[in-house]
């Protein structure tokens, strides 16, 4: 399933991907969010999910901001008692994935190009209504970006993205 090259313009600020392994306790998310907010970092996406070990959770965060500040943010995250591990995966050869649901408001007669794009990107139609289509697509965030820009002119109505998840390859720890 080969996606075409990225079409959209590259974003001006680098997007960083940080993986956190944290205690599953109330308040952890607030503590983590405060580290970013205080230093002017904007969270682009945040995925929290249970880890293999029940008392821990995973957080995968993508964010934009000054790269020099990121080193400080990682260290401040490390300092949080409830954070067991904080790893910056930016530039790593980690496996990354994201899922998106896309609602396109197009009538029965106008949807052929949308369905062609969907087929090419291996997106699945999950809701087929008379006035709209819902498409589900997964893959790299860049692939999702490209797909969304392609269908946008055909009446992009709603967009929900899961946020990026990521895992280090081989036996390296995420």
């Amino acid at each position: 399933m080969a996606a075409p090259e990225l079409i959209s313009e590259p974003t001006p600020k680098p997007i960083h991907t940080i993986s956190l392994f944290v205690h599953n306790k109330p308040g952890v998310l607030v503590r983590v969010a405060l580290v970013f907010a205080r230093r002017g970092y904007n969270l682009e996406s945040l995925v929290v999910s249970p880890a293999a070990e029940g008392q821990f959770s995973r957080m995968t965060i993508t964010c934009t901001g000054d790269p020099q500040t990121l080193e400080q943010i990682i260290r401040q995250l490390h300092k949080l008692i409830d954070v067991v591990r904080a790893v910056d995966h930016t530039g790593d050869a980690a496996y990354q994935s994201e899922i998106a649901l896309v609602k396109v408001a197009c009538g029965l007669n106008d949807r052929t190009p949308v369905l062609q794009i969907a087929e090419h990107y291996n997106a699945k139609v999950v809701d087929y209504g008379p006035e709209s289509l819902m498409l589900r697509i997964f893959g790299s965030s860049e692939k999702l970006d490209a797909f969304i820009e392609l269908v946008r002119p055909y009446g992009l109505r709603e967009l929900v993205r899961s946020g990026k998840i990521l895992m280090a390859r081989g036996l390296r720890e995420t």
Binding site: G27, L34, Q72, I81
Partner: protein, 578 residues
């Protein structure tokens, strides 16, 4: 909504009793607190304990007492307050302890768990409010967690880089029966404490030192906390390297030693700052390159090699990019470093340092009324580094830091990072509880003193022999100094017209009061206060209204812009923070 009532058999204890047992296990002698509805079960449990409760008059006072106790002894100070406003009144104290790495445990009562988040009477989301100013915090939802949480809280407060830990306990939790046992183990996989530094980085530091002609040891509070003061002096003597210390690093190195140039930074000694300007290597020993020290970061020691020893990895490259970072406990790192270094040829460098010392001595005007500097200079003659000195923040603090030379660790207690007015007097109370034999002097301004002056009652009722020296210029002096120098002397919000007669105020509390008006009386009256041990003694020095702290370099300026005395020209507004 009813509180769940559980029948308890006679041997069972409540969460509150378990908490107090936990405090006893941790060796707590004193709890500084103020009671209230949500904390009544805990105060009740204290009745049967050997732990002494010190009832304060305002919760902020309790936090500063615990902080002063902690910094004077190295042991954690404990605060107990109620929910809502009782808890929010501890926020300033938490910030103070957090910024200055003081081990403090703050226990707050909380409304019952079924009412959390429902705007119950005296409910405040205290863990939420305090996240940014604690090392860690707990909201206890299950009574069986109390033994573990108490152990963890004390472990976290004192270990690594110390700091405040908050425990918020709902009233139904503290009232419920608790059967969980105590353990000595803590299981905190996200918490790492460092000890010795890596041999490789220590060797690299030794190599840089060996090539240095003009080294400077820059000593911070990390040296005090880790007990590195002896190692600092050994290293300095072995290298023949001069020392400067930060405001909080006073006591990390003997300030009366010929190699010690005293405090550096915005109001540091001119010779310490000259050494900073001209060194070719600067080594931080538990100091964090604070903005009071670096001034303009881009121009800070541009040509000098920089070594940084710190127990907190997050301090590395936060402000200043360094050549070598050594993650470890300051004392252990120095002990490993000392055998790797040899005496350096610093004769020329030391000669220049002593020239600066001669050319730019600390000085002050002798005319124009009683001078605060003179009072503190004389106090230094009397205490000679042997007393515990605490301060507030402002002009009196800087003058005290300049003139009262500290020789031993834990004898200098000041609010540095937070710059909290009202810290000094309650901190002295805490220090005196922790070290009953010590002479404890609180050096405060008339502004800061009035923020926590209610604690005079606490000092009086316990007959604590603390001495409170109010440097009274009837102004918020440091701000007035800035307005004079940078804002065309347009004074705004600094005149403390309406100050009470502080001697009469002392008498109202049954406290001995002494007033100093003339320079000729200073030594005699300070001696009188120093010798007085029957209870607190309040000394008011009525000093010149308009005096400025020099040396000074404007915030955000490089060290080359240091003013050794009053400027002849008009100054630009500072570029840096406050």
């Amino acid at each position: 909504m009813a509180i769940r009532r559980v029948k308890m058999d006679e041997k069972q204890v409540t969460g509150a009793q378990k908490l107090v047992q936990g405090l006893e296990r941790e060796g707590v002698e004193y709890v500084f607190g103020l009671s209230g509805g949500a904390a009544i079960p805990i105060f009740d449990a204290l009745v049967d304990s050997k732990i002494k409760l010190v009832l304060v008059r305002h919760e902020q006072g309790a936090t500063h007492m615990a902080d002063g106790y902690a910094r004077a002894t190295g042991k954690p100070g404990v605060v107990l307050v109620t929910s809502g406003p009782g808890a929010t009144n501890t926020v300033t104290g938490l910030l103070t302890s957090h910024m200055d790495s003081a081990p403090v445990i703050v226990i707050t009562g909380q409304t019952i768990t079924p009412m959390l988040g429902k705007d119950a009477f005296q409910e405040a989301d205290v863990t939420g409010i305090t996240y940014p100013v604690v090392k860690h915090s707990y909201l206890v939802k299950d009574v069986e967690e109390i033994p573990r949480i108490v152990r963890e809280a004390f472990y976290l407060a004192v270990s690594g880089r110390p700091g405040p830990v908050l425990i918020d306990i709902p009233k139904d939790v503290s009232s419920a029966p608790c059967s969980a046992p105590f353990t000595d183990q803590v299981d905190l996989p996200g918490y790492r404490i460092v000890g010795r530094g890596s041999a490789k980085s220590i060797q690299r530091a030794a190599d840089l030192l060996a090539r240095s002609k003009r080294p400077l040891l820059y000593v911070g509070q990390g040296a005090v906390i880790s007990g590195a003061h002896k190692a600092v002096m050994t290293l300095a003597e072995k290298l023949r390297a001069p020392i400067v210390n930060t405001l909080l690093g006073k006591g990390g190195a003997d300030e009366t030693h010929p190699l010690n140039l005293g405090m550096l930074g915005m109001h540091g000694t001119a010779y310490a700052n000259k050494a900073l300007e001209h060194c070719d290597l600067i080594m931080s020993i538990g100091a964090r390159w604070d903005d009071r020290v670096t001034g303009k970061v881009d121009e800070f020691c541009v040509d000098a090699k920089k070594i940084h020893i710190d127990v907190d990895e997050a301090e590395f490259n936060k402000i200043i990019a360094t050549d070598v970072c050594i993650l470890g406990d300051a004392r252990l790192v120095l002990e490993d470093l000392i055998p790797l270094v040899d005496m350096l040829d610093t004769s020329e460098w030391l000669r220049r340092c002593s020239e600066w010392r001669k050319r730019y001595p600390l000085k002050y005007p002798r005319r124009g009324g009683l001078r605060a500097q003179l009072v503190l200079d004389r106090l230094n003659d009397i205490t000679q580094g042997r007393a515990v000195l605490t301060t507030d923040v402002g002009q009196h603090q800087m003058w005290a830091a300049q003139f009262c030379r500290t020789t031993t660790p834990r004898n200098w207690i000041t609010s540095g990072g937070a710059g909290t007015m009202g810290f000094g007097m309650p901190a002295a109370i805490g220090a005196q509880f922790g070290r009953p034999e010590a002479d404890v002097w609180a050096i405060v301004g008339d502004g800061g003193f009035q923020m926590t002056q209610a604690e005079l009652a606490t000092a009086a009722v316990h007959k604590l022999p603390i001495k409170i020296l109010i440097i009274n210029n009837n102004y918020l002096g440091m701000v007035r100094q800035w307005q004079e120098l940078f804002f065309d002397n347009r004074l705004s919000g600094v005149d403390l017209e309406g100050n009470p007669d502080f001697v009469k105020l002392a008498e109202a509390y049954g406290i001995k009061g002494i007033r100093i008006r003339r320079a000729a009386d200073v030594t005699r009256k300070l001696r009188e206060a120093h010798a007085y041990r029957k209870g607190p003694c309040l000394v008011v020095a009525e000093v010149a209204k308009e005096d400025n702290v020099y040396p000074m370099w404007p915030a955000g300026a490089p060290v080359t812009e240091m003013l050794v005395e009053a400027p002849k020209h008009k100054l630009e507004k500072p570029r840096g923070s406050t």
